[in-house]
Amino acid sequence: MTADTISAAFDVYRFRPGKDTAPRYQRYTLDLAPHTPVLTALLRIRAEVDPTLALRYSCRSAICGSCAMQINSKSRLACETHIGPEVERHGRVVVEPMRNQPVLRDLVVNQRPFWNEYDKIEPHLKLDPRRPMPEGKATSMSPAQVERFKETPRCIACAACYSACPAVEADPAFPGPMALAKLYRFVVDPRDTATEERLVRIQPNGLWLCLRCHLCTEACPKDVRPSERIRDLKEMAIAVQGGTELGSRHAIGFKENLKGQGLLNEMKLVRATSGFTGMAGELGQGIRIWRKKPEILRRPRTIEGMDEVEKIYEALDPPPKEGS
């Protein structure tokens, strides 16, 4: 080991489904410069130590999105994650395949579930044949229109967001951050004529399962910020349809709730979202909580200056116009 290198221990996930009974972690120790990318280290391991290690990669320059994997539990591109900080923080580099997609071998996953969600949002421009674009105008957009989706085209479909998402992990009904960010891209494209149809279709198909935990935005190597685009979709879906889903009813219910006292009225909100039937279904749990926390039935105080809040609502949340 020279002064410029560190001794780095890699614990690499190894698994051949159908052949191995269980996954195992194989330890490789290499002397490397701290700025060495994890991908470079893995390729050295494969070239010099163990040719059977399977991994997916291509460009090595954070452009192709092929080498996403879990590095010390974080979903990252291996080509742009340096070993130095990982060794310093964790004492080793644990390398595992991405989550939420079945392992094919070692670090290689089957990305079919991820791409299926992408296909489902119909990721192509939908044009209305009855409303042809004027000649020569078909691709013209104002700078302001382009500004609305400047982030989403940066997506390299690496699936780091899909791997990091707790909603994907817990519920197959959730399309995942990438598919929804791509959907947003078509919803705000002024050339697309299926905006409403897209929003109506996504509402009952997982839009409201987003936890707004922002783990996708944190994992994204290209700063696409999927969680923020999902928020935009939610607001646009409400504008188109109102509260048709439990999620949209809850968001609207919450907004209306604050008009009362300026503070959350918990019981009123539950009633607005779930209705009396839904509340009855949760009666047992409600009583359990009420016995320790009787305040759940209490009406909150009204804040001072409630008239100010009401005026803000009047200015920025006017009721929908008649007939709209």
Partner: protein, 294 residues
């Protein structure tokens, strides 16, 4: 040190014990809490989904209240922290600011963006400082292994929250160590508690909560601690449902952040509202006593 106290809705109602513990700890550490009965709810992320600019305006009003008093804001809820901070960030967009100002100006409210918004975790670790906290410890929590559960909005989006590393935070663990507890590290500590979809799909919400509790438990945690009363609801009040979803017994007591600090500083369980929890905290407290008498 004097701060505008923004307790948020839950700590004023079903999460009253968080308010009790915060007041106790702040008194012990010489933090003066100034109350503003005109603070409104932060919108909890839900109003933001229904009408973003409305939510920004509501929070610009909250921030302006603290600004007028020349105080920084103390939050004790990750969601409040996230929403107030997000309003500050969004108000840097001139188009947004123009719309919000137009709604606030007729009310005589001016938002300038001068008040900082700080969660109790940051105040304790950055402003009061760990040595000062440590100096006040009367009953070190030796023997109690605690998994810090950061949740989401204290950390993310990292570039907007302006906090420590969102992927590798350590302030909470540092605080736990300062009061004598043994911090337990586990992947779930920066994951989501599931609460935002508790009313959308309770089974999924509880499955998510269950994973994080199980993760902490399997790494040896006797208890978990959270900086957010919504995480607390999900992890404590709904822990029975979480256990059902992950099909494992959990029985992990969940502390609010100031309760852990308060215990070490000498508060009684009653003063910290521990009897109000759904999952009894006795087993975790017994760990401290056992270690103290050993």
């Amino acid at each position: 040190m004097k701060l505008a106290y923004y307790p948020g809705c839950v700590a004023q109602e079903s999460g009253k014990e968080l308010d009790m513990a915060t007041r106790w700890v702040c008194r012990a550490l010489g933090i003066e809490l100034v109350e503003f009965p005109n603070f409104s709810c932060c919108g909890s992320g839900f109003v933001d989904e229904a009408n973003e600019v409305l939510n920004i305006a509501i929070n610009a009003r909250n921030l302006a209240i603290a600004e007028r008093a020349g105080l920084d804001v103390l939050t004790i809820c990750s969601t409040c922290q996230g929403m107030l901070t997000l309003a500050k960030v969004r108000m840097q967009d001139p188009a947004v600011k123009a719309r919000v100002d137009a709604a606030l100006r007729p009310l005589g409210i001016e938002y300038r963006g001068t008040a900082n918004v700080k969660h109790l975790l940051r105040v304790l670790t950055e402003d009061i400082g760990l040595p000062a906290v440590k100096a006040k410890v009367r009953r070190p929590l030796q023997g109690m292994k605690v998994g810090a559960f950061y949740g989401c909005h204290l950390l993310r989006p990292a570039d907007e929250m302006g906090s420590e590393s969102a992927e590798e935070p350590h302030a909470f663990e540092d605080l736990l160590a300062a009061v004598g507890a043994t911090p337990v590290e586990y992947r779930g500590r920066v994951m989501c508690c599931g609460f935002p979809i508790q009313f959308v799909k309770p089974s999924t919400a509880s499955a998510i909560a269950g994973r994080q509790i199980l993760d902490a438990k399997s790494h040896g945690a006797d208890a978990m601690a959270t900086p957010c009363p919504l995480c607390h609801l999900s992890l404590d009040a709904y822990q029975n449902k979480a256990a059902k979803e992950v099909q494992k017994p959990l029985d992990v007591p969940i502390f609010h952040l100031p309760q852990v600090v308060g215990l070490a500083l000498g508060a009684s369980p009653e003063e910290l509202g521990l009897p109000r929890h759904l999952v009894p905290t006795d087993a975790a407290l017994a760990k401290i006593r056992t270690a103290a008498s050993a």
